[in-house]
């Protein structure tokens, strides 16, 4: 009888467990928050595949892709693990596998028995460039042949710095105008300034802007100048979005660049900007974003061109053109400087997830001009996973205006003698890399006709924006924003009137043009 009772009790347990199992299953609904302006929407493009990447703390990210005919019909993206702090990344690719849409969620909790709606701002991965009268917008989903591959955003004043917020909602734009330096927000949904938010007045001489990955802080770097103090303006982004301004200023001399983790900013003091190995002395100073306290400081006995910060918040990678390498440094342990990859004249660096992208310049040879070289390697430094590609040698053309007869022309093809990529931004997924370059092309005097040279000695300088396909190294967008040419008239050359020519694949901004200052990519990395 006792045995029978025990068995009956076991049955009770069974019933209880059975009832638990009857509870409903949870689900995750990804709510696409698309641009209000349909011309900016990824859904205007041909989408062939949707990929969802899931990241959970302490676990490797994994992705799943779904072929689609029409995203508007809804897409079943499979299943995801339950857990806390789950980050969802959604990417949309064209049938040719080009990224046409991207979005990233805030961390969410996925539960086994609850329905969760996850809003994601889904945007085209636009490239934003400053330096002109407006923000120039390049649509990285389009090739240059497309008529609408570029557009412009007017914000008032001259925009000098731009950085998208990591949630994909806004562009933080620093402009300089008659009213001084100010910060404004531009909606990525409409590509118009958010007029409901008053501009935030800033100190002068801004050099860089960055937003913390958690969207809490917006940091503007300032150079020291007689008219203003150098340092960092640390701005509460939520307050700025609500129309209030809360700025904490951290004085630091000569800040030329800044990158930001969730807790700290890393100010690049004494930033090198010229070709090759500069004589300047640089340092990277960590600044606590909550308290404004500075330190530790990583010092260099030469100039550093660029710095990026890894997701762990304490590993920085610098582009060191004097050591011709990308160097990983734990800022909390200055002794640990680990060369990640050799890279001649390394000038810019970015970190995408856990991978470092760097750009440097290979010196010209007797037969070829200088060329850019891109290197990619995990932050961990695993050499087996390093990729290295060289772009075609840079060249420009100088065109003679000395001929008046139709059908005649003279062009001088010039190889680059000096070349630097001073800005690098990586499109989400790292399929494309955006660069700003500055080049110098020197041409020797040549020809002799009656004791006078036919072509004079000349120097051409150009500034270009490039969008490079990282897999094929082909340049899919190329715009020269400024070009100048000077020549030696004192030698009384036969051809004594020159201007910059253009290459067949080069889009050219009409003279006088402008020198681009900064680029950034929506949801991209710098």
């Amino acid at each position: 009888m006792l045995a029978q009772r025990a068995k009956l009790t076991a049955c009770l347990v069974v019933i209880s467990v059975f009832e638990m199992a009857c509870l409903g299953e949870g689900s995750v609904e990804v709510k696409l928050q698309l641009p209000e302006d349909p011309d900016l929407s990824p859904l205007q493009l041909n989408i062939g595949e949707v990929t969802l990447m899931t990241e959970m703390p302490g676990e490797p990210a994994h992705s799943q892709s779904q072929q689609v005919l029409d995203v508007s019909d809804g897409v079943d993206l499979g299943r995801i693990d339950v857990g806390d702090d789950v980050k969802l990344t959604l990417s949309m690719a064209s049938p040719s596998q080009r990224l046409v849409g991207f979005g990233r969620s805030a961390p969410v909790s996925v539960e086994a028995d609850s329905d969760v709606v996850v809003p994601i701002n889904v945007r085209r991965p636009f490239v934003y460039m400053t330096g002109g009268l407006n923000i120039t917008v390049f649509d990285s989903t389009q090739d240059q042949e497309s008529a609408d591959y570029q557009s412009a955003i007017g914000v008032g004043g001259s925009p000098v710095l731009v950085a998208p917020t990591p949630d994909g909602a806004d562009l933080a734009v620093v402009s300089v105008g008659g009213n001084g330096t100010f910060l404004s927000l531009v909606s990525t949904s409409t590509h118009t300034r958010r007029d409901e938010i008053p501009p935030v007045a800033l100190g002068p001489y801004p050099t860089d802007v960055a937003v913390s990955p958690d969207n809490r802080f917006l940091v503007v770097a300032h150079e020291e100048n007689p008219g203003g103090q150098g340092g960092l303006s640390v701005i509460d982004l939520a307050a700025a979005r609500s129309g209030a301004s809360s700025i904490q200023f951290v004085p630091l001399a000569g800040v030329g660049g800044v990158v930001v983790s969730n807790e700290r900013a890393f100010a690049l003091v004494g930033r090198a900007t010229d070709f090759g190995c500069p004589q300047d002395v640089s340092s990277v100073v960590a600044v606590d974003l909550n308290s404004g306290a500075t330190g530790p400081t990583v010092s260099f006995d030469h100039g550093i061109h660029d710095v990026a910060v890894a997701r762990d918040g304490h590993t920085i990678v610098v582009a060191d053109s004097c050591d011709d390498s990308l160097i990983s440094i734990d800022v909390d342990d200055d002794a640990s400087r680990v060369p990640l990859a050799s890279l001649t004249d390394a000038s810019a660096v970015a970190i995408v997830n856990d991978r470092v992208w760097g750009v440097g310049t290979k010196a010209p040879t007797l037969t070829e001009g200088a060329r850019l070289e891109l290197v990619s390697i995990p932050v961990s430094g695993n050499m087996d996973e390093m990729t290295r590609v060289a772009l075609p040698p840079a060249e420009e053309r100088a065109k003679s205006n000395s001929f008046n007869t139709p059908g005649q022309r003279a062009q001088q093809v010039l190889d680059a003698d000096a070349l630097i990529a001073y800005e690098l931004a990586v499109v989400p997924g790292a399929g494309h890399i955006a660069l700003l370059t500055r080049s110098v092309f020197q041409g020797e005097e040549s020809g002799d006709l009656g004791g006078f040279p036919i072509i004079p000695q000349m120097e051409l300088r150009s500034w270009e924006y490039l969008l490079v396909n990282a897999a094929t190294t082909s340049i899919v967008q190329r715009q020269r924003t400024k070009c100048t040419v000077e020549w030696d008239s004192f030698s009384l050359p036969w051809l004594d009137d020159w201007e910059c020519g253009s290459l067949p694949e080069q889009d050219v901004v009409a003279a006088p043009g402008y020198e681009p200052l900064k680029i950034s990519v929506l949801y991209g990395a710098k």
Binding site: S27, E29, D73, G74, G78
Partner: protein, 280 residues
Amino acid sequence: MIRARYRLAQLVAVALVLLGALPALAQKPNPKRKVAVLEFRKGSAALPSAAAISAKLLRKQTSLEVMDADDARKKYGSHLGRDVFACQGATRCIARIGRKLGASEVLLVGVSEFGDVILTLQRISARNGRVLTRIAEALAHDAEPTAKAMTRYLKRVMPKSDFIRYGVVRIKANVNDAEVFLGDHRKGVTPISPLRVRAPATYKIHLTKPGFVPFTASVDVPPEAVVKVEPTLVPRTTPAWYKRWWVAAIAGTIVVGAVAIGASSLQGPANDVPVRIPPQ
């Protein structure tokens, strides 16, 4: 508590009869379609049993007609591996092999290395070579995915419906007009048509009729099987059912079965949930 125990003891009236496979369920895609699981390696000897495990798990957890590498080689010939390799992952080429195998789909299990070991699962339509779904996972060199992890991957790449299986509960009571409840849901009155239910699962069956002692039973329904339940509702005027001589004799058998059900149910709630983009 005593009363509850007595009710549970009513399980004596249940008889389980497995009647074999059910007809294919009318769904798209066909949950019983033939799927060939093929392997493609590119410069990697890692995960030597990824394809075999995938086939084994699909066999176990779905109703698909799964063709593993051995089955495929028998039908296609010994040059199967060479031909798959020659395709170099091109889906139209893989689809041709799938058609020769008579499969509706090919699950191409790819193993390559790019620093980490990259495991890819592609569901390819044999009809047109279209990639229906695909996933990629990066694994450490020495990490062989567990069956649980592989199941998770498979659930991402294969349609959810493939993992939904059904069984049938056929209830034949000794009286008409008794109300039938499956869990908390009223399903009708006896005589009642066979009930199609998700399987494998455990269900509480409850029958009630005025003037009769209610009947409650817990049944384990395996996938694609029919579980026959023959409840006997005893009029309240007759001697209490538990005083009958055969109660103790049969209770033991049923309770042992129920304990087994408990063990499977104690695995806890689902560790993953569906995710989708709703229509815009």
